[in-house]
Symmetry: C2
Subunit: 106 residues, 2 copies
Amino acid sequence: MLEKTTRVNFLFDFYQSLLTPKQRNYMEMYYLEDYSLGEISESFDVSRQAVYDNIRRTEAMLEDYETKLQLYKKFIARQQIVDQLTTVLEDHEEALDLLSILKELE
Amino acid sequence: MLEKTTRVNFLFDFYQSLLTPKQRNYMEMYYLEDYSLGEISESFDVSRQAVYDNIRRTEAMLEDYETKLQLYKKFIARQQIVDQLTTVLEDHEEALDLLSILKELE
């Protein structure tokens, strides 16, 4: 459950620029600001079902973008490489310059 | 002119999964395989103008995706950091392991 939420949050982070303002609003309120479906439907004056459907469709769109572009998957792979590099470099005090360059990469 | 083509090629590389099969076909033939608009229009039995319009619209879509996702821009920034790291590491023979990890990152 929590893992699912984390994944949606990451996907939202990567692909939100491809969503409509309405989709972004619903997703932000539901996933980032932890509003309930009922609260969201009240503030936009639409049915709870409409909000629910919109959010489910948006999640499917995010997964579709991820299937096509794999930004999240590549991000994780890069992150692992950066972690590997960081571990190796931490053993060498003279490598502090490199660590600061790596920070930029992250 | 050549620079423009290179940019379109990169953008196509990053975002082709978001295009329709027809858009992909035209772009591949025009930009990668160097067919003329006339040749493409003949092989799909459509007007030269239709091919031209489709390619121009697709280019605009690619630029729009780049504005939103900036994959090409971030790719260039990461590439510069990797080059920087590589230059520093090449001065240290003991750093061969790191260089192989960096190769993966590229």
